[in-house]
């Protein structure tokens, strides 16, 4: 289960890694139902990144897949298209940078990063999960 202690550990690691990459970013940790547990915005990071990081984490948690993969539902060539990605709700996003956190096959929460390019955000999430040694499965 996601708790505040683990969320703090993830955030500390994330901020350390972001500083190593020379980036400032916002990081959000949500629990298995998508509810916010902890959120940090580094000094000097643009204001909206905090909310975007939370959106990414929410999307990753409720779909149980990386936020970038959610866009497959909007692809007309894929089975299951017709899902209205744009106006579903004000949280859903398909921007890369949100990854689900799994502990021995069970979803315990998700992490969302925002502040760099999409590639950098995903890389940062992966680095954090690698460091914490929680398995992250790609869809």
């Amino acid at each position: 289960m996601m708790n505040l202690e683990m969320a703090k550990k993830l955030l500390q690691t994330g901020i350390k890694k972001a500083k190593e990459m020379g980036r400032s970013c916002s990081i959000a940790i949500v629990d298995d139902n998508g509810w916010l547990v902890a959120l940090h915005r580094m000094d000097g990071t643009p204001i909206p990144t905090a909310e975007i990081a939370r959106d990414k984490a929410w999307t990753a948690a409720v779909f149980q897949m990386p936020s970038s993969e959610v866009s497959c539902f909007g692809d007309p060539k894929m089975p299951g298209s017709g899902f209205n990605l744009q106006n579903w709700n004000d949280r859903l996003t398909t921007i890369p940078g949100g990854l689900p956190i799994r502990d021995s096959d069970q979803l315990i929460g998700a992490i969302g990063c925002c502040g760099g390019t999409p590639e950098e955000d995903v890389l940062l999430c992966r680095k954090v999960l690698e460091e914490i040694r929680l398995r992250e499965e790609t869809f």
Binding site: L4, K8, L36, A38, R41
Partner: protein
Amino acid sequence: MEELTLELALKMLEAAERWAKDIAVFSCSIAVVDKAGAVIAVHRMDGAAMATTDIAIEKAWTAVAFKMPTLMGSRWLDPRNMGKLIGDHAMGMIGRGKGRLCFIPGGIPITNEENEVIGAIGCSGVPSGVGDISDTSVSQAGVTALYE
């Protein structure tokens, strides 16, 4: 201090969490915002209700936007004070600020030496009215930690 940094925000959160855990014995959410009302850090303690994070952020936002503790604003919106305060009532305040305005006690602004607001802390999840234990006292523990 001139500006609230993440480091200072975490120091406040840690102190407030310790107070909530050891003295109030209640799980709650605590948020710190900067002088723009933008979130710096939010923590939801284990067992606190899920919606409390948003309420804590909104209390802190309101404390910055009105440059006063939300406890003071809540007096204007208390129906028991109708007609007792100087001037008119402020019921039209409900729902303002694009719905973000939250005059529930628990948000406290943080000021610098020149008395300018540089941020705020907000807490939600502690039932109020039992002795000294309330959202405001948890926030106050966070503010006090800044001056230690």
